[in-house]
Amino acid sequence: MAVESKSNQKSRKSFAQFRELNVLVAFLLLFVFFYSQSPQVFLKPANLAVIMRFIACFGMLSIGEVLIIITGGIDLSVGSLTALTGVLVATLMLKGFAGIPPIGMIPAIIIVLCIGTLFGLWHGFFVTKMRIPPFIITLGTWLIAKGLAALITRGYPIVYPSESPFLVLGQGSFLGIPISFIILVIFASIVSIILNRMRLGYRIYAVGGNAEASRLSGVNVDRVKFFCYATSGFMAATTGILLASRLGQGTPTVGSAYELWAIAGAVIGGTSLLGGEGTILGAILGAAIVGTMQNGMVLLNVSSYLQDVVLGAVLVIAVVYDTLRRLRK
């Protein structure tokens, strides 16, 4: 946990904005580069929609991850939760569960969002009341959710009929913008407002900067952490539902290593794994960088053997650059 306390809120904010500027510049450079490489394809609405869908998926997970990382924790469960919640929403809508007949779209979505949030609260409980390291308890859920998703489906995808209205969420778009991306923008705005404008937000940063000091100054540290873990669970469930809709099926074969991409997006976007620092906009720009690179490398027909090497190198460069900048300060 970072020792230096960010007591001066004003300096924290200008510092944060500067951070995002770096990520934004990196993102724009990347964008211009791929545009110059294949001008007739890269900016086509259909291609931009592909990138936006990627950002929607990983950005959503990054939102929860950033909140938790700011408080000095980590959530390794989000990828598996994505698979489990996707499977659950399809099961509830198409097959029914434990003798209960299939239910409608809205109740199914609400139930699954609640389940995701409950997983988050469960993590919060162990982290705050039991003092279990977040790494361990979320690793447990990572396994549990993966296992449950496989158990419920036995490996078979639960396939939606192609006329199901549920599919609009993940496959539809409004004025050319994918609906999942619009949902991301809404959620990101809400969480950003909480972080930057509300007392809860200041407390989240304070807890990450120095938990003991915030406790002594009257912050209910446990409640703050509960909020962050619950939000992360909720975001994972949202992603799971959107992916099930996108794929037209609930399947256990999604979500592998998504938590790592979400963490990578957050870190590229300037979130410090030591806690106390990080912004939602930065994390989403981080996810945008990863998404643009993945799409761009397919456009340029780069061998997939090489793609991982490039993505890994970008992650390392981002972190090293960030560390050097911090040392200079």
């Binding site: 869908r53 158990l151 490996g155 099926q249 397919v298 456009l299 997939s304």
Partner: protein
Amino acid sequence: MKRPIFILFALLTIASVILTACAPAAPASPEATEAPVEVTEAPSTGGVEISKIIVIGKSVHPYWSNVELGVKAAGKALGLSEDQVIFFVPPKEDVNAQIQTMETYIAQGATGIAIAPSDPNALEPVMKKAAEAGIFVTTLDTPPVEGSVSKVYIGTDNYSAGMMAGETLKGLLPNGGVVGIGRGSDTALNALQRTDGFLKAIEGSGITTLEPLNDKEDSATALQLANSAISANPDMAGAFGVYAYNGPAWATAIKEAGKVGIIKLVSFDATTDIINGIKECVIQATIAQREYDMGYKSVELIYKMATEGVEKAMADMGVKDGVIDTGVDVITAATLKDYEAAAKAKNIPLDWNTEGWDPSACK
């Protein structure tokens, strides 16, 4: 003083939750999880003792559920009891779980073990140990290493199945064109062999391929990559889905791009979403493996080896160069109804049917 007790309690809770969550995740084999410690009194079958025949698969997947059906059907047909024919899969591909399972059954003294090695090199030592203990060892689905103790491999030759896919796409694209390939791994043997066979078949045909897209066995990534590839190549004429979910991923991307029928799609396996793709005329053909037969023949072969001797069993079952090729079915809109009838004849439950569907819609 209270806190350590709490922590201990919490750890125990987590441990038990994890255990209970994982145990049923190998649902295909309730028998295997019971870990029968007692030495089974081998009931005599035709004067020869069969204790247990074990078939070890790779992961929880529809494909392996069908293998299991074949295993159980063979056991029934041969008059073996349910505890004598055991099917086991780990929840996800897990070499270590396969090794541990094999060791358990070596210790119990199985009659024979048929295994689909997730990593043939890593499994070879324990297969050797089994063979030295007098257990018949065969492989299914994935061939063993060169010079393996496994005498027989039962499965699809992935290379020739890939060639079949290539030939099929070549037939669909007489004028050639750009073709995208989606697969779940750049290193797994079956992905490489299917791709290589495919490339071999289209050699010199006017078809050019893009770099294979690797989604790391993630359906959502597969769709993402298919979307990208189609938008990057407006002139794309065909696509090949190497793993079971790659076909549906291409199909969704093709539908979204409004290119149904323009981009010819050949996929692998016959899951419900692939069959839906064929019925919607997005998927022109799919290469279906006969995994049911792999399970069935694995049990049958080991049974015959034990009761009639290895040489006779191999001759009877038509083993050629240590291989029983179970072959593939090429399913198209024209042959879908025949495929359905054949599956029903084998009691393979299907999630789909062709009622009210007219194959001539896809002309």
